[in-house]
């Protein structure tokens, strides 16, 4: 009986989360971007649900890549990692011990980031070097220079994101650790059930701001979208994905939006995603609020270059460190 209950809770939570996450890109586009840009905007189902379904029905082509199968497998791996991430946040899975801890979450988020790097270096799109154009004519400048695809550029940027860009979100994760003194999610939630949510303390507020910036960076949303900035790298790592693999890319993005917001609710509000608990509504509200605030920010900002990116990340990281100090005091 107990096992059945847990099973229903876990599967139910996953399914409901997935359903909700499908609507997030549509909400972002229709209710925030379009409203700010004073236009009607697409139907709410179009960007999140209908576009992936449409891509499932497209012809499967071989991508231009040195390792086409690996390249095509990457978005699926990405999606699975995000699902696993949500799985370990569900309270019924806390018996797994070390896997349901901050360390495991950090690890899975890292995997998510490393994917971008592989995608970038494996994609060889038609839009840069392979474009047949007689530009290496006699008299061309620097003919001996090695030529690189624009995706390689975005692969380099993914490398930098791993190196420094994802600082804020990891620091924010450890705010709650510093506050509760435990790495385990079960302990963090138990602490908050006794002492009230971490969010309603000084450290919690600072941590929430840092978490939010980290959330935007991890999702590559404007202004932090150096990975897939339109002015130079077009779509970056995703350039060669077509048909169902592109559908996975779409689904992963919506799901990651949801899961990171759930992570926030778990760590800062003490509410684990569990369909059997009435507090799941709060998780859903957080999951809706996060993309909406992010959409407002992204609608009003240009894409950053390193000149703006480094100081922002540095300032936010310092704020995060201060939050940890405040949590320890």
């Amino acid at each position: 009986m107990d096992l059945t209950y847990s099973l229903i809770a876990v599967i139910g939570t996953l399914v409901v989360s997935f359903m909700v996450s499908l609507f997030l890109p549509g909400i972002e586009r229709k209710f925030i971007h379009a409203r700010i840009q004073q236009r009607v905007g697409p139907p709410i189902t179009s960007p999140g649900i209908m576009a992936p379904i449409k891509f499932f029905f497209k012809q499967t082509i071989n991508p231009e890549s040195p390792m086409p199968r690996l390249y095509n497998a990457l978005p699926l791996i990405s999606l699975i990692v995000v699902i696993i991430l949500l799985l370990f946040l569900i309270p019924q899975m806390y018996f797994l011990g070390a896997l349901a801890s901050i360390i495991a979450i950090v690890g899975f988020l890292k995997v998510e980031e490393v994917m971008y790097m592989f995608m970038g270096s494996l994609s060889k799109s038609v839009l840069s070097v392979r474009m047949p154009f007689p530009d290496m004519a006699k008299g061309a400048k620097h003919p001996e220079t090695p030529r690189s695809f624009v995706e390689e550029l975005s692969s380099l940027r993914a490398f930098r994101l791993i190196a420094f860009g994802s600082f804020p979100i990891y620091i924010a994760l450890f705010v709650s650790v510093a506050k509760t003194g435990s790495l385990y999610l079960s302990d963090i939630i138990a602490y908050q059930q006794i002492h009230g949510p971490i969010l309603f303390s000084l450290a919690g507020v600072m941590g929430a701001v840092v978490f939010f910036i980290g959330y935007m960076i991890l999702l590559n949303e404007y202004p932090f979208s150096i990975l897939k900035a339109k002015p130079d790298v077009i779509e970056g790592p995703y350039l060669e994905y077509a048909s169902k693999y592109r559908a996975y890319v779409y689904l992963t993005r919506g799901f990651l939006m949801f899961v990171l917001a759930t992570l926030f609710a778990t760590l800062f509000l003490g509410i684990a995603p569990n369909i059997m608990n009435i507090n799941f509504i709060i998780t859903l509200i957080v999951a809706l609020l996060f993309p909406m605030i992010m959409a407002v920010m992204s609608a009003f900002s240009p894409v950053f270059t390193y000149k703006q990116f480094y100081p922002t990340v540095a300032a936010v990281s310092i704020l995060g460190v201060l939050a940890i100090v405040a949590a320890l005091l």
């Binding site: 379009a34 236009r39 009607v40 905007g41 960007p47 576009a51 449409k54 839009l127 154009f133």
Partner: protein, 148 residues
Amino acid sequence: MSLKSYSRGRAIHVMLVYTGGCNGCDIEIVNCILSPKFDAEQYKVFLTWNPREADVLVVTGPVTKHNEKPLREIYKAIPEPKAVVAAGACALMGGVYKNCHGDIPSEEIAGPVDQIIPVDAKVPGCAVRPQDIVAGLVSALPLLLNAD
């Protein structure tokens, strides 16, 4: 209507390729998609710059010699089902640039778009109006919806 057709009708990704027209059509098409006044997104038309994502290729311009191969490559990169919309007088028949004098063809032009890639819908006009572009996309839709 099957889910396949329904989903195809609800999310149409459009890619633009300019092949050496006069910019008039190009701006009107960008206007059609970016301007809140026309806002093609409300008709479920999304702008993309990646052939792998695109469903409909909108081509303007008379296709100059330099642009012939890139156009073919981009057409090849779009996965099936796909449709091509040729927009503007130049894309339909070469416009004023097609012939030097009388019937002497110009050396610079590789021909109107339908000599390079198959064209499914033609949008006339010099320059095309944003409303006509949306109408042209709609007229190419049955092809996408009924494809396998």
